[in-house]
Symmetry: C2
Subunit: 311 residues, 2 copies
């Protein structure tokens, strides 16, 4: 018999997952849940793949800005472009959110949805993670890939519910995670229908439609799925409301958090981290008995390619 979740050490996290899945799939058990209601939601950054040293979508924006700068020589002396191109973080921080929004708008909008998909796929093919030299789509967690497969084999439908851009993820989530576009929820912008050469296209507009983080995650789940999940996995305070929303349903629920405590194989950060800070959600996990994944001790391997970022 094939071992379940082979990259997970035997321990409380693996046991909690398996016991939950067995409980909700046992047809005559008191916790049985019909397949239609076996909805599982996963954060992406820091839960399914790494998010250090910076969110991968931020790296995408910076790389794209550099490429676009060739056609915009004035950016070398115009803010916020100059600061971004020079990686001048203090100046960027001083410019604040409005500057970041402008950089995101310039790099993410003004093209058709099809053009943006090509840009994302091209970047995924060519860009490399600064610490491992690997394509970003290899920086995914092998134990979580196994968890997705295990859930699917047990009749679950896994969704991504991420603060990241929905159209930054959809071009590759099916190949990498087995999660098709319609099961990807994320931050989204407005699009507008136009006609180009007699053909309808959707132009990406610099206008937010949905910010899918923190309290926006239950909003997104309700908007896209219209049903409450029974299983949720995150890694940071941005996932707290998604976990609470999942836990607030009736019947057995699973809430899990990945704790990044493995600086050798991946990264170590939690309370106080600007990226993926884990503080209030950690306290609530301890209080409510949610499953905390101790990456260092629960995962036999971290990435599919080797045992850790230096491997």
């Amino acid at each position: 018999m094939v071992k379940l979740l082979p990259s997970w050490h035997e321990g409380p996290a693996r046991t909690a997952i398996i016991e939950f899945v067995q409980a909700v799939t046992a047809e005559n058990g008191e916790h049985y849940v019909a397949p239609d209601d076996r909805l599982a939601v996963f954060d992406n950054d820091g839960t399914l793949w790494s998010e250090q040293p910076v969110y991968f979508q931020l790296q995408f924006a910076l790389d794209r800005l550099e490429e676009m700068a060739l056609d915009h020589p004035q950016w070398s002396s115009t803010q916020p472009y100059q600061a971004a191109l020079e990686h001048d973080v203090p100046t960027l921080a001083a410019i604040g959110k409005k500057g970041i929004a402008e950089l995101l708008a310039v790099t993410h909008t003004g093209m058709t949805t099809e053009e943006f998909e090509d840009i994302v796929l091209h970047w995924m093919d060519s860009a490399r993670h600064p610490d491992t030299g690997r394509p970003f789509t290899q920086m995914v967690f092998q134990p979580m890939l196994e968890l997705l497969s295990y859930l699917r084999a047990n009749g679950f439908t896994p969704y991504i519910v991420s603060g990241g851009g929905i159209e930054f993820m959809r071009p590759w989530t099916e190949e990498i995670y087995g999660i098709p576009p319609q099961q990807v929820i994320g931050t989204s912008i407005e699009t507008q229908l136009e006609t180009q050469d007699g053909r309808p296209v959707l132009m990406r507009q610099p206008l937010l439609n949905h910010y899918d983080d923190g309290p926006g995650k239950p909003v997104g789940i309700n908007r896209y799925i219209g049903r409450r999940p029974i299983f949720a996995f995150g890694n940071s305070d941005g996932d707290l409301q998604m976990l609470q929303w999942t836990a607030a349903g009736e019947g057995l629920r699973f809430c899990g958090l990945v704790h990044h405590n493995d600086p050798e194989r991946e990264y170590a950060y939690d309370r106080g981290s600007v990226i993926g800070g884990l503080d209030k959600a950690w306290d609530e996990a301890l209080d409510k008995g949610w499953t905390l994944v101790d990456m260092k001790n629960d995962w036999k391997r971290v990435f599919p390619f080797a045992d850790g970022k230096n491997g």
Copy 2:
């Protein structure tokens, strides 16, 4: 052998549907489409169920306004409430869109998503269609129910893409159409996460998030599905862009329109109708060779309950 689409007369519409489905499912055929890409989109009002004498959701709003008026005596002399309660259409028309929006906001927002679901289900149980005396959920088209089943049996995933409210439809579409909430796209409002008695709830806000009609339909399809459908069915000019968007993909596509020309069994309306007007989309269907369903001659029966609204 069970006859396919038994409520459809043999004729060009039924033939076009069957030939399309056979073409895209023939594994070695030149038009083969993998099951993951067999996405079908259906308008709701006038396509899957009736929309006369008024959109059913408008009837819901008016019924709810009447119920709420018991607690708002001042409405009997305040506009736009007075006009709505008195069914004074000229005054309502003079007040215009802002008044309609206020009526929709008052009847559709200010409660949790769970409370709204209960309100909708209670109305569906108790309200009756003015012309047939039937529950509104029986005013669905038997031939379209058969088409949904036929598509599902051939590996298609049908979605609703409606100008109607997403949370007005989701509570009952699975039971009536076999279409689960996550396959229902519609007009949606903002919700906001709040805590009630220590439990997270989503409060419905009087603020539009997405208007899913006309050019909003391709926007909604892209936002929710992230893939282009290969099959689309509508009945009015509000579906034109959805049909064009579907047709603009590569490979074989099916575009269909229900033409309401059966005043005996259902209703007859097309060009110039305020509700469900069919004009530009009709011209384009003729021009592009899309399938036009002649309700009177293509459908053996219209509703599940009997042969027509007087039956």
